[in-house]
Symmetry: C2
Subunit: 215 residues, 2 copies
C-alpha cells in the first residue's frame, strides 16, 4: 500500500506555513516568497522550468524527494486558488495550463465541481470528503505509488492529527512571520508517534523529517 507523504513544506521559525492576507497575487499572504527562497536556489527548481542551474547540495536532495514515487496529490482548497475561486466556474488552479503535478490531484472543497484535465498528466478532482476517505480515494488513484499531501498548513494538521501521515518533511526558514496559519497547533506530543531528525544546511534553513514509528 502506498504511503502519505508531505514534502518541501516551509514554515517560519514561529511556525507559520502561510502568512496573513492570501490573495491571487499573494498566495502566501504577507509571507510572500521568502519561505521558499531556499528551494528557488536548487537545481530541482530550475529543472522544473527546463533550466540546468541551481545548487546540488542538501537542500536540492531534500527538494527532489517531492516527486519521487508519487502517484497522486491531495491539497486543500486554499492551495488550489485564492479565496473565492469557488465562485468562478472557469477557474483552473494557480499553475497555468501545465501544472507541476503530472498526476491526479484531489482538491478538498465543500463545493465540488467536475474534474478538469490539464496538460502534462495533471487532472484536478474535487472532493468534499473527510481526510481518511480522501486518502483512500487518492491511494487508489495512485496505483500503488505514494500520495503527496500538498498543504496548506491546516490540511496537513488535520491529516497528521488523524494519524494518516507516514512521512513529513518540513523546512524551517529563519524568519519570523508573526501572523498567518500555524502548522504546529494542536499536535502536542507528536514526537511520540514519529522519529524526528533535524538537519541544518548552509543556506540557513533546517530540514525536519518526521517518520511514523508505526509504519
Amino acid at each position: 500500500m502506498g504511503k502519505l507523504r508531505v514534502h518541501n513544506f516551509a514554515v517560519s521559525l514561529d511556525g507559520f506555513g502561510t502568512g496573513e492576507g492570501q490573495a491571487a497575487d499573494a498566495p502566501f499572504g504577507h509571507a510572500g516568497e521568502r519561505i521558499h527562497d531556499w528551494m528557488f536556489a536548487t537545481r530541482y527548481w530550475h529543472e522544473m522550468g527546463g533550466g540546468r542551474r541551481g545548487s546540488v547540495g542538501a537542500d536540492n536532495a531534500f527538494a527532489t524527494m517531492h516527486g519521487s514515487g508519487i502517484g497522486a496529490e491531495i491539497m486543500g482548497a486554499g492551495k488550489f486558488g485564492p479565496p473565492g475561486w469557488q465562485d468562478d466556474p472557469d477557474y483552473k488552479g494557480a499553475w497555468g495550463p501545465n501544472p507541476p503535478f503530472h498526476t491526479p490531484v484531489f482538491v478538498l472543497t465543500h463545493r465540488p465541481r467536475p474534474s478538469i484535465e490539464m496538460k502534462g498528466g495533471t487532472t484536478f478532482h474535487f472532493l468534499d470528503a473527510a481526510p481518511a476517505e480522501a486518502l483512500k480515494i487518492a491511494l487508489e488513484a495512485a496505483g500503488g505509488q505514494d500520495v503527496r499531501l500538498g498543504g496548506g498548513p491546516s490540511v496537513i494538521r488535520d491529516f497528521v492529527a488523524e494519524g494518516l501521515v507516514d512521512q513529513m518533511h518540513v523546512v524551517q526558514v529563519p524568519i519570523l512571520l508573526g501572523r498567518g496559519v500555524r502548522l504546529w497547533d494542536g499536535l502536542e506530543s507528536l514526537e511520540e508517534a514519529y522519529h524526528i531528525e533535524a538537519v541544518s544546511t548552509p543556506s540557513g534553513v533546517t530540514h525536519l523529517t518526521f517518520t511514523a514509528k508505526s509504519r
Copy 2:
C-alpha cells in the same frame, strides 16, 4: 559597554519556552525537563556539579558560552520561583544555598524585597523596573562584563521587542509541547534586526543564534 545576552534558552518545535502548570515541583510545567535533556548530557552540565563526565561536542560548546564573560543576570519572577513565592518572605530562589550564578542577579517583580546574599557570589536583588532601566542597573553591576538575560520566555520577548538584546542563543528541541508560554509571539520580522544562524547537532536539537546587526 557590556552586552545583553541570552544563552541555552530551550524551546519546543512549536516555540514554547515553558509548559503549562508551573509549580514548585514542576518549574517548566508539563514540559518537565525534556527541553533540557540535550544540556544534561554535556560536560558543561556535569562540571557544574563537580563531575567530569559528559559530551564535549557542539552542544557542550554552545552550553559553555552561558558563563563566559558574564557579570550579572536579569531574570523574571517566574524563573526565580513558583507562582506565589512573593507571599513567602523567607523564599530564597529555586537553587538552594549556592545558586549557579555567582554574580549579582536582578529579579524583576512588582513586589520587590530586600536583597539576599547567597553562597558562592550570588546576590539576588529585586527590581520593579522596565526592561531598559533594569538593564542599565545590571550593566553597572556587571562592571564592564556582559549581562545574561535568563528568561522566562515572556521576559526575553519583552527585552527583544525593545531592541535591548545583543545576542540570543535558542535551542530548539524536537518535541511539541502544544501549550505553555511561547517565545516567538509578537516578534514579526526579527530577522531584519539580527543575523540568524541555525546549526543542528547529532543529539537532535538545533542551535539558533541571533546576533544584532546594529551592534
